[in-house]
Symmetry: C2
């Protein structure tokens, strides 16, 4: 059937970039992603982009649970990263290249999360170094906050702000992110 | 009161080691801990010890929530690390220097956790690189598993295997580890 022919391959520069990073197996794992993001300099520093953040991002997009990213997931990731970068720069009001605790409190509240001051301060401490939050840690924090909130909401069908977790389900929600 | 005098300072080699790592402020933060553990070669490789694991270990021991470790916390940490190292070597039965999925399943079950195959496989994927779990990721996994299980148990007073979480409490348990 002529109608079954695939469309002619489009010369997509993103696709050759993806192939160069993915290598032989045609998929991007967390270490390949880390090398790629460190090279792009997206975090604005010369230190390696956090491997932990790469894992968190992959697990966010990895619907087929392979621990690796195909081309479509990779494109989604880049779009998301650009969004976070803009967002990060918006809240870095003194342009220090980092988000400080009071800037983070504004960011979190502008994203619509309602978190107690005590919990927020624990979260900020967890993702900061020397009192400042770098871009890669900012992304890790935002992704985890979103994933955990989504997981919570899916189980809070009545929107009561409380969820009953079985132990195994609790671990699945929290250990695999 | 003579009885109030402090005991004469003992020449504790661990203390001078601690002071050298802690520097000016007399406390060890996650980056200082990472440098220290990378130098000790405890993970058996030349790659840097995971910063993420350092943060997780500090948050485990950091009862006063400063994000840093004092001398006593540091000593506790070293004792715990030695325990995990022995444990890790015990489950690395083929002495590959890494724990493979089937070895990890044995380790987790020997620690007394009862986790469904599906959740376990998600956890193993999350903490492995190329299908193998390195020592620093092993520690991160064990500490998180313990902290989350402890947090769950404390709320499961009736031992029913189910806990009702308020949203803020859920985030505090899961985002600050
Ligand atoms: Ca700033
Ligand atoms: Ca402390
Ligand atoms: Ca092994």
């Amino acid at each position: 059937y002529p109608g079954n022919f695939a469309p002619p391959p489009v010369n997509d520069p993103m696709l050759s970039y993806f192939r160069a990073i993915a290598g032989q197996d045609g998929e991007i794992d967390s270490e390949e992603l880390q090398r790629c993001l460190t090279q792009t300099g997206v975090s604005g520093t010369y230190t390696p982009f956090s491997l932990e953040t790469c894992r968190i991002m992959i697990s966010m997009l990895d619907v087929d649970m392979t621990g690796k990213m195909g081309f479509n997931e990779f494109k989604e990731l880049f779009a998301a990263l650009n969004g976070w970068k803009q967002n990060f720069m918006m809240f870095d009001q003194d342009r220090s290249g980092t988000v400080e605790p009071h800037e983070m409190a504004q960011a979190v509240s502008s994203m619509g999360y309602r978190i107690s001051p005590n919990t927020l301060s624990g979260i900020i401490k967890r993702y900061s170094k020397g009192g400042r939050i770098a871009f890669d840690d900012y992304v890790a924090c935002c992704v985890k906050l979103r994933s955990l909130t989504d997981a919570f909401r899916r189980r809070d069908a009545m929107q009561q702000g409380a969820v009953s977790f079985q132990y195994d389900d609790f671990l699945q929600c929290t250990m695999t992110i």
